[in-house]
Subunit: 342 residues, 3 copies
């Protein structure tokens, strides 16, 4: 369920409305009066919500969640009991799901400020002993906890929450985010912008509205010029105590555990999960939808394309156990020397 503080949903949309909008023919058994509460990802099913199914292995969700509504790839039609009242078939299911989200969220977040509003909204809740440096902009409904420091030219978007005693340094811009206490965010970081999400169509890219948030827990530090995208259908989460160095990219839906250390210029693609107390070296790149365990160590400059179990120590592109990577370096060195002697 998207956070109504950040995203405005069209209410009262029925399955019939959606059919007409998507120009899909409803089967006779379809219950066109079904209300669509929201959209959700198939990995996080929710009552009353619309999701889409493109692969056979996800079809079981249809039976397990009769209270949901599904857009299902027409190619899977024969696999389903015919005449379900909550299933709509589509020939281009990803595109139609994207268009459904656009239909439910017609007004993107961006119009949240307005010409002529004061720099610090009178509708913001400002705690005790808050420092509001020159040039700070605070949107409507934002909540700034006691003892917070906001450096010059910081931008706090509407309804953003900043916990007690956090330090937000000069030039940082934050939107669609809930920030904990004792958090430090360094100069010119960018938090909460829309993630890199679109569907490829024959007519071009179709943007997927990004209706998740950024959640940053207590005592997290974020480096200068880091970029943390808000979630797509879920949230982007950084758990307590974790430290991010400068110029780090965190894609949408990423979840980073407690007490992790990410060195400068790391890039983590969308929906990847990192367990507690893991350490990621500088300039490491991690692909999307990967699961990294707890207490994992990854050498700097590595490239991670697959899941990594708890406690592993890895290195290389693509990364392998670190001793193996070291051995490969040694072997290559020997081969090169042998070649020299010939």
């Amino acid at each position: 369920m998207s956070d109504s503080r950040f995203f405005i949903k069209k209410e009262g949309v029925t399955l019939g409305d959606l059919c007409r909008y998507l120009d899909l023919a409803p089967s006779s058994s379809l219950d066109q009066s079904l209300k669509i509460d929201d959209v959700c990802s198939i990995e996080e099913p929710k009552e009353g919500c619309l999701s889409f199914i493109k692969t056979k292995k996800n079809l079981s969700v249809v039976e397990e969640w009769p209270s949901m509504i599904f857009l299902v790839d027409e190619a899977l039609a024969l696999e389903l009991t015919s005449s379900l009242p909550n299933v709509l078939f589509s020939k281009r299911v990803e595109i139609d799901f994207t268009r459904s989200i656009q239909y439910l969220y017609p007004h993107p977040f961006v119009k949240a400020f307005a010409s002529g509003m004061p720099s610090v909204s009178l509708q913001a809740k400002i705690g005790q002993n808050v420092t509001i440096s020159p040039g700070v902009v605070i949107g409507e409904g934002a909540e700034i906890g006691d003892g917070v420091f906001l450096g010059p030219n910081v931008v706090i978007g509407p309804n953003v929450v900043i916990g007690k005693h956090s330090e937000i340094h000069a030039g940082v811009a934050i939107q669609c985010a809930l920030i904990g206490s004792h958090v430090v965010i360094h100069q010119n970081a960018a938090i909460g912008q829309a993630g890199f999400g679109f569907t490829v169509t024959p007519e071009g890219f179709l943007d997927i509205p990004q209706i998740g948030r950024v959640i940053i827990e207590d005592n997290v530090h974020i480096g200068a010029c880091c970029t943390i995208d808000r979630g797509g259908l879920r949230d982007t989460i950084i758990r307590s105590m974790t430290r991010l160095d400068n110029l780090i990219q965190i894609g949408h839906n990423v979840q980073i555990g407690r007490g992790c250390v990410l060195v400068a210029q790391v890039g983590i693609a969308g929906s990847t999960v990192i367990g507690d107390f893991s350490m990621i070296g500088g300039q490491v790149g991690i692909a999307d939808h990967v699961t990294i365990g707890k207490n994992v160590k990854i050498a700097s400059k590595s490239g991670v394309m697959r899941d990594i179990p708890d406690g592993s120590v890895m290195g290389g592109i693509p990364c392998v156990p670190i001793h193996q990577w070291h051995r490969t370096s040694v072997i290559l060195h020997k081969l090169t020397q042998k070649q020299d002697k010939k």
Copy 2:
């Protein structure tokens, strides 16, 4: 021809003036009264403009463009018909060309703002339904199209053009750029700064004035904290529909085609060209003056040092066809295991 909206050129400069400024002895045949309209790169010859020639293969341009003016490396003097009226010889042709640009463009762009001016210039043209959030700065002569959203603390430089319905988010700074319609630029991106251009001299670096622009066509998205340098003698261009993720570096004179996808932290060095619909994985680096074809796919973390033909799928440092890169990984893995058994 540089855009007079952004760069002020000294008018009426003759070849004689230039000889005196550069302290070069004119040959008797040189037409010192020739007017120098502007400077251009030898790849893009233009009537009335000054360029320089350092290698034999470019000498043909001298004959093909008698209406141009040339600084030619003295070492090539014997290769040319003696006594051309539009050719000036130099012992250090790159340095003298750089100094010529400095002579024609003595006032760099940066003084474009002034103390005491209002945040939003009264000389800017603001369309209908434009949102100007608190802290926005708009320079003289800028044009903001209908329905544009400017987030808090956005900086729009003098004479910059923003097309209809574009979204420029908090903290973005733009100068020397023409931005299309329905463009989205995310928080704290930096567009249009001078590129990384200098000539090495015995006395140190000599800065090459960067007098090109950034052109961003319709429907392009630019991620947070991306940096897009303006062109040197030409323009930096990003064509319609292309999507840039966060923290991407685009060097001066780069041209990116339509419908491309660049994942986070990609870096593209100066003057490189990328064809339509190509996809560049995260953290890829591409060298300068490289030509990447259309529909090319490059795996994340790759390093590209050479041209890549249309439709290629590449990976590795330096990058090779992707199946070859995968095979190399397999072979290295086997070699390491063999070593283990010994």
Copy 3:
């Protein structure tokens, strides 16, 4: 000695005070009345200052600097002449040293601005012909030299010094820094934030106060969205003429020599030293505490983990002499082709 313009030190602290604060039992010989002037790193010993010793090889400093004060790992107690008046033993010497710095510097820098202060402090010293664009914030005691250009929304922290004729472009944020003359800093760069410094304890990370500065000498250029952390106990230094492209990370205590060229997206970890006139290719990563010589060239995308002597040309991950790296590429290519034929 930290710069009192940026950091406020608790005065009059004695070794006895420290014992009580750290809850360490003083030996009978300890001179509890000794004044602690400041903290310093063991690599840069200073009279009257407190440092810590964890390894045997550093013990000689204790004898050479009887005017200093030392926190020494208890495991090294037997190695020292018993009953030194200036040595305090600790079971967890790194944690206790970190806590000592926190004790001496209880008020971090960040509260340097205040709500309601004017954008440009009346206590700042502004030179002749300075351009202060709209939205600029200048803290108390800052000094802006003649002819400086400050672009829109630039933030100059308290007591920061900007030398003559420097250009600081839109959105740049600077704190705890001394900037030379004719320096150019491009849009949205972040200079002087606290470095990535903490001690790991069983209870979590303990932040090491970062009480050094950023020193940028004359004629340096810094690219857009670069991040340059201030020093921990020492300074981060970039010497004259050096050029940084965009999106570069410079860790705390790093020293970069004169006339160096760093291409975009380079990352340099803490305390690394780079000699004069070295050239670092794009996306190179250099580990912490490494010494790179003068006139070194490093190919783009390389990973540097060890010292590199003067004049070397290197490439690869980990980097090796460039001809060796090229040969390795050739060998791998041959191996892959051989495999194909089988």
